[in-house]
Symmetry: C2
Subunit: 147 residues, 2 copies
């Protein structure tokens, strides 16, 4: 008996884009920048869309504001991710093997660097280094746990 039906498939965007900078260190950093920048921009887009839906008004001004925020946050988090990936790659090469300690050191160095560049006080640089190390270690452990 022939029967009709509906068949559909929802394909999700593939997060794949290769940029060759000629050196694995740079390739890693750029890859981190692009991927985390994209995630951050998507987060802002989702937040701003929800905000518009929630308040019920969509104006040109709002859309422009959202686009600007997407670019700004995407670049900010992308840069932090690029620095982190680069630093972790370097630590990996120096130490010769990788585990959660690479992530901890990478996070700490990145936290210190980012807050030093942002002209924070010495006090805050250490705190951000501790926070960066903790976040990176937690992310590393969680991802290993769930894989």
């Amino acid at each position: 008996m022939p029967h009709g039906g509906f068949s559909g498939r929802l394909t999700s965007p593939k997060l794949g884009l290769a940029v060759d900078m000629g050196h694995p260190f740079l390739n890693h950093a750029v890859d981190g920048f692009i991927k985390i920048g994209a995630v951050s921009a998507c987060k802002v887009a989702a937040e701003e869309s929800f905000e518009c839906l929630h308040r019920g008004d969509v104006s040109k001004h709002k859309v422009e504001h959202a686009l600007k925020k997407m670019c700004k946050e995407g670049a900010y988090w992308g840069t932090i991710a690029g620095v982190y990936v680069g630093v972790e790659y370097g630590i990996d090469k120096i130490r010769g093997h990788r585990d959660w300690k690479n992530a901890m050191l990478g996070g700490a160095v990145t936290g210190a660097l980012v807050s030093a560049v942002n002209n924070n006080q010495r006090h805050k640089v250490v705190k951000n280094a501790i926070t960066g190390g903790a976040i990176a270690t937690a992310a590393e452990l969680l991802t290993n746990l769930t894989s």
Copy 2:
């Protein structure tokens, strides 16, 4: 020619502790709780130690405060991690394979659950779900990048 010397080795703590709850779902969640709780407690310990060194005073009161904060933050982040790992494990089983979309969904569900339990408004629950999804996706992508 015999010569004397100093030989030492700094061993780092191994992050390994197995608790068998009788079901992989619970084992995963408990594992996440313990590991991320420990990371969070270490973060607070490092921060409070730095605070004491920075100000130059170590009193019994300060140490007690630090210990309480370690337990509180460790339990808080451990619980969030436990929920996340449990949710991701469930999504993994339902979808049948794992990629960054599991992390995104897991993070979003965890963000929504945690903020719903904390009696936030509906508005904040959605925002936290978006933030949770973005953080989990970023962590997953970063860890895959650096491995």
